[in-house]
Symmetry: C2
Subunit: 371 residues, 2 copies
């Protein structure tokens, strides 16, 4: 039997995963992690109001979710001072990135991103046959000027920029990004991934006319709102672009209680503020632990900290392996020179205590390995 | 400003939705439905064990779901006597259909379905530029022989067949479908949508060597398991085909508590049996109400009943409008001659009481309208 006739593109793709999840690692190790600090999840958890709303909605999960995510979009529109027609809600930023790439990219189209930025975006671009062009980081920061210049040079359909950045935690002011957009071609779409922006200093979010067709901003309930497992992201942009999602998106793809939980989380700004304070304290504690071990923690506007292990990628990987072996789940950047760091998510005091205990041992083990 | 450069295909697509959801209808009407019998949701709800599992998991929604849906796939593998490598879990059958069409279809490719079958499948085919060829129903049943003959004639990459069927509720034995597959080309993939099979008589599910590369079977927790709002579907097929989903799927797209809830639901076969008994009683009650009003309820192997209103599509639409105006949400087939019917989902006694009260008025109103 010959079997299904895949597209040429499908045949060319590897079966892969942008990240190996912690559960898969736990199954491979045969034991659970003691501290889960690798996926930039928010260990401080969702608002109790969101938890209660989700629990109350559980028995009603026999109903499909609202295909328009009407109530959530309405509330988000109010928060952002834009119209609901400027907002699309989807299955996390990951899901929305997939839709967006699908709308714009055919095989061979040029797309620009930073070398070492979000792998899931790259996965989607490859999945639609786009050709990725990567611009190096500059001083551990994504480089808007260089990204937009490269996009102009190539006539790229899309340029991706995360602000704050993952995996380095660095950031630009929104004003600097808008200024750099002067050199962005009119027909290149900037995907500005602001997944971590709630943790960042005032002025980090971009402020720009919502009708500007060059920009779409991505936000999520996975990070500051502590609902990664619920899968709720949203994008903000010009109404034309937002409406275009309705051509292809999985209209009934949203989990009903996720919609309800996200709305409840949005309506609890005090919890959000408390979370951001908890995260700031955790960042300081990670920096303290790093310094105690002779390492440098990079400044961060996110819920994680890149800790410079002081040598190369192989050394940082050895440190990471030592932490993982001690039950502390962390990750690291993929690309040099950023991969001299390990990336540690903000944890509760008990999580960071485990990290503090494991790090000196992991470092000493890594140092004793043959170079 | 010129704005984003969409693909030619995207530009050609309408912004549309396969179904208008009940919430959108309620917003348009300015009041809620009194009985929700239009979307083939399972009003009897999920297993209390699933509800409890979802509630217990709510505070842990800060964690992403397991990208491999390992535990759920393991349990499903045991239930179906196949390997976990033969199962992919996704964001409802809708999500899985989208992935599958993407893997196989490029613009211009032929795809075969029944005229009046699942609109969301058609939406995905159009969304990837496939050319749909529709085969008429035969006596209110999808016609496997005719579908497979058409697929052979056209060299179609995919043929879609729902068994039991939606929107008519009719069904074939699994054996008859396997027999008809003798005339299915080796390189045409049969998507067998068994979303409603738990409600159907023994022998309706197809039994075929799981390694047969011509067949993929779709199942869901949205119907018999009462978890439509959770968005958990799965597909079973040859390991090669199942692995191919990992080339393109949104690996971290599954809601964590949906995975946990689905597993708990699967582990409560008594609740499933009770649900199926409740649904059978509701079908009988719908048939009784139909007969009381001089109408004929078609036999059904699903959780809904197509009620033949005895005239044409315009008349059935008038009946439907009358029901909707009275707060009873129902839907109807899209295509003649099936559109002489309205489609009523199995309801609780209180739901069906509202239907029984509204139907004579809706009928009388429809009959008094100018032809």
């Amino acid at each position: 039997m010959t079997g299904p006739r895949y597209t040429k593109l499908t045949n060319s793709l590897p079966a892969t995963v942008p990240f190996v999840g912690p559960e898969a690692q736990e199954r491979a190790m045969g034991r659970p992690f003691l501290a889960r600090l690798g996926a930039n999840e928010n260990v401080f958890g969702p608002s109790p109001r969101a938890v209660e709303a989700i629990q109350s909605a559980a028995a009603n999960l026999w109903m499909y979710g609202d295909a328009e995510s009407h109530d959530l979009r309405d509330a988000l529109a109010t928060v952002h001072g834009i119209g609901p027609e400027n907002i699309v809600v989807g299955e996390g930023i990951d899901g929305l990135l997939g839709y967006l790439v699908r709308m714009l990219v055919v095989p061979g189209d040029a797309v620009v991103t930073s070398d070492g930025a979000y792998p899931t975006f790259n996965y989607h671009v490859a999945g639609f046959g786009g050709v990725l062009h990567k611009v190096p980081y500059t001083d551990d920061c994504e480089d808007p000027e260089a990204l937009f210049a490269k996009a102009a040079e190539l006539g790229a359909k899309i340029v991706y920029l995360a602000n704050p950045d993952n995996p380095m935690g660095s950031w630009h002011s929104g004003r600097d990004i808008v200024r750099a957009m002067d050199n962005l071609p009119d027909d290149t779409l900037l995907i500005l991934d602001e997944a971590y922006v709630e943790f960042a200093p005032e002025g980090t979010a971009v402020e720009l006319d919502i009708d500007d067709p060059r920009l779409i901003r991505m936000r999520t309930f996975s990070k500051a709102y502590g609902l990664a497992g619920a899968r709720v992201g949203y994008a903000m942009g010009a109404a034309d672009l937002i409406t275009s999602f309705n051509k292809i998106r999985n209209h009934f793809g949203m989990n009903r209680s996720a919609q309800i939980g996200a709305l409840a989380a949005l309506n609890d700004p005090n919890w959000l503020a408390q979370t951001c304070a908890n995260v700031a304290a955790a960042r300081a504690e990670i920096a303290r632990i790093a310094a105690q071990n002779g390492l440098v923690a990079l400044p961060s506007a996110t819920n994680f900290v890149a800790v410079d292990c002081g040598l190369d990628g192989a050394f940082a990987k050895a440190v990471l392996d030592g932490l993982v072996a001690r039950g502390v789940f962390v990750r690291m950047p993929f690309v040099a020179p950023q991969n001299r760091c390990i990336r540690v998510s903000a944890g509760r005091p008990e999580d960071l205590k485990l990290f503090a205990e494991a790090l000196p041992e992991a470092l000493s083990e890594a140092r004793s390995q043959p170079a």
